[in-house]
Assembly symmetry: C2
Homo-oligomer: 368 residues x 2
């Protein structure tokens, strides 16, 4: 009951709306693999449950859970969170889930990208990823939403941000990485984005957050608060490798205009930390061949802009650091129409991402 | 998103409607276990796909499929059938699925019975049945339908039929079998049925169809065409053990009245066969300890009344036998308002049941 469409969203008048637009709900995947999440994923499950619980105060939440964890997840989640069985290799719904597109007539469809676990057999973070690769289709089946399959085009949802008015932001580090689509030129990659997301203008940033294992997903570096307004992770420490990365992004954004011809209003959000993996944290993770190891002293790609915009709220990762309060304060000033809520998210960060990476919004299509 | 209710349907004004009332859709489970379905379940999958395909011409169909079979099922089913991942031990949605109940205000809820694979550790047909036991809850989660848990009460949906006007029919062979609820008296069992299905009168038949491995499910013996009208499987062969069973059922029905005080109109549908398992069929099934074996010469519990009523249709099992045409003819005369469609169903019968056993209707609640 999710028909496979042979066209593209652009040809059919469908486009990806901004995350700040109204949602029907939010999709997540329950964490469990002990070679990525410490202590049998119990601390991560607690954090995911809190994220789901908070988002469910603002919109529908569906948690996708393996058969093995179904009862445990159902037990740990509040009743208003829907729990559905779905096999997975890990819990990054932003990246393996569908990208929803809408049209002006109140219809919604989904884009099912190719997924290769952030780099395939060479650089991928684990093997296999066969169950993750089916998540998008399974989500769309449950919702009876028709599906575009972007065949031969590897993309993760976290590697793009759109303003819903024709502009897309991404990074060269990720989208031009030979571990994603080595068979495509930059222009061909742009054409895929234009066809499947129905955007008019693509803004290329350079690198993502320092040491980000996703090869620099844009959603950890910056995001749209609304069309024309961007939050960018920042540091004033010129000795930190993040300084050059954020400065370069700032320069590129400051000298660009969006699809509507507007200059960007850019707000710097000072990064937390740097934050490093502790020995205890490292020792809680199973050592498994083929999975990215979690080693003591690893610098983690922590960022406040990895937040999720729910209906009427922004759910922001915090780290019990002095940088938390200013970040939340700035974001609340930027979004007076939303309730800005911080959630302590170090346990999510330990797995390689944060709140934006573990969520995927399903937009509520609106007419006219 | 399926709240667990602490009340009962009767207390809340919910009741089970007749199968002949309007449906929102139909639920099924994809067959796959090679120790029950011959030749790796490929012939059964073809038959299930045909049943799903035909029903989907009349109402929504959702097929629940294990992760291993997801792509294969999606490939073999028509696009209008929704496919969702759901672990299972076998494919009898009638028996392990939820029983839906409705109220007069347009609301729907589900009853989640205890399931013990038709007899538990002593007489059950396979072990384990842990995944089947979660099917009802998972279906209700997907639909965001609240759930009554009938704790400590084992029941399969195929062991009861209701007319939606206060009458329930069942068999002593099944519901009073010590392999189901040995801790409950007959009166306590009746009280559970009254509380969870909100019926007023329970009519007890004796045995189900001869050699039925479900311990005599009523849905293989007889069913409601509409309130007051019953189809009963029959044979005129006094040497067939089915003769005494059907005669006894006829006598009990003929001397009963329903909850509204009506006498029953009883229509005999002559059984097919007898039908026996062939050597070739037996050899196609894996021998596994703990699973009921399928042996050459086994008499199968074939019956035409094991049909499914979809919106505007009746989907009836056929067996390529001379008895098919008269059975279809009689049923069409009894249901002029429905399209009566026969589907060759020997492959379903080989697994131990038929079209009614593999389907479960989700009613469309109506107001007033």
């Amino acid at each position: 009951m999710s028909a496979l469409l042979s066209s593209t969203p652009r040809k059919d008048g469908f486009y990806m709306p901004g995350e700040f637009e109204p949602h029907d709900g939010c999709w997540m995947i329950w964490p469990e693999r002990p070679d990525n999440w410490r202590l049998g994923a119990k601390p991560a499950q607690k954090a995911f449950a809190e994220v789901a619980s908070v988002i469910s105060r603002f919109e529908n939440v569906t948690m996708c859970v393996s058969a093995q964890q179904f009862r445990n997840a159902r037990h740990l989640l509040p009743p208003q969170v829907r729990v559905v069985e779905m096999s997975n290799n890990d819990s990054w719904m932003r990246d393996c889930g569908p990208t929803f597109v809408i049209d002006k007539n109140g219809n919604v469809r989904g884009v099912d990208w190719e997924f290769n676990a952030w780099g395939g057999l060479e650089d991928g973070l684990y093997f296999p990823w066969d169950m993750d690769a089916q998540i998008a289709q399974k989500v769309l089946e449950i919702e009876r939403i028709d599906r575009y399959k972007a065949s031969n085009f590897v993309l993760e949802g976290g590697s793009i941000h759109v303003d819903g008015e024709g502009t897309l932001i991404t990074t060269e580090e990720c989208l031009l990485n030979p571990n994603r689509n080595p068979h495509l030129s930059k222009e061909e990659i742009e054409n895929h984005l234009i066809e499947y997301l129905n955007v008019e203008k693509i803004i290329w940033l350079g690198k993502g957050v320092y040491n980000d294992e996703t090869n620099g997903h844009v959603d950890n570096l910056c995001c749209f608060i609304r069309p024309g307004v961007i939050a960018l992770t920042w540091t004033d420490d010129t000795n930190d490798p993040q300084y050059e990365i954020s400065s370069d992004a700032y320069r590129r954004l400051a000298t660009s205009t969006d699809a509507q011809g507007r200059k960007f209003e850019i707000h710097k959000i000072h990064q937390p930390g740097p934050i490093y993996l502790t020995k205890e944290e490292s020792q809680g993770v199973d050592e498994v061949e083929g999975t990215l190891p979690r080693q003591e002293g690893d610098r983690m790609a922590a960022s406040y802009v990895n937040f999720y915009l729910a209906n009427g709220a922004a759910i922001v990762p915090t780290f019990n650091l002095p940088t938390d309060a200013p970040a939340l304060h700035t974001l609340q000033q930027l979004m007076p129409e939303r309730q800005v809520i911080g959630i302590y998210a170090r346990e999510i960060l330990l797995g390689g991402g944060n709140i934006h990476c573990i969520t995927q919004q399903q937009p509520k299509p609106h007419k006219g």
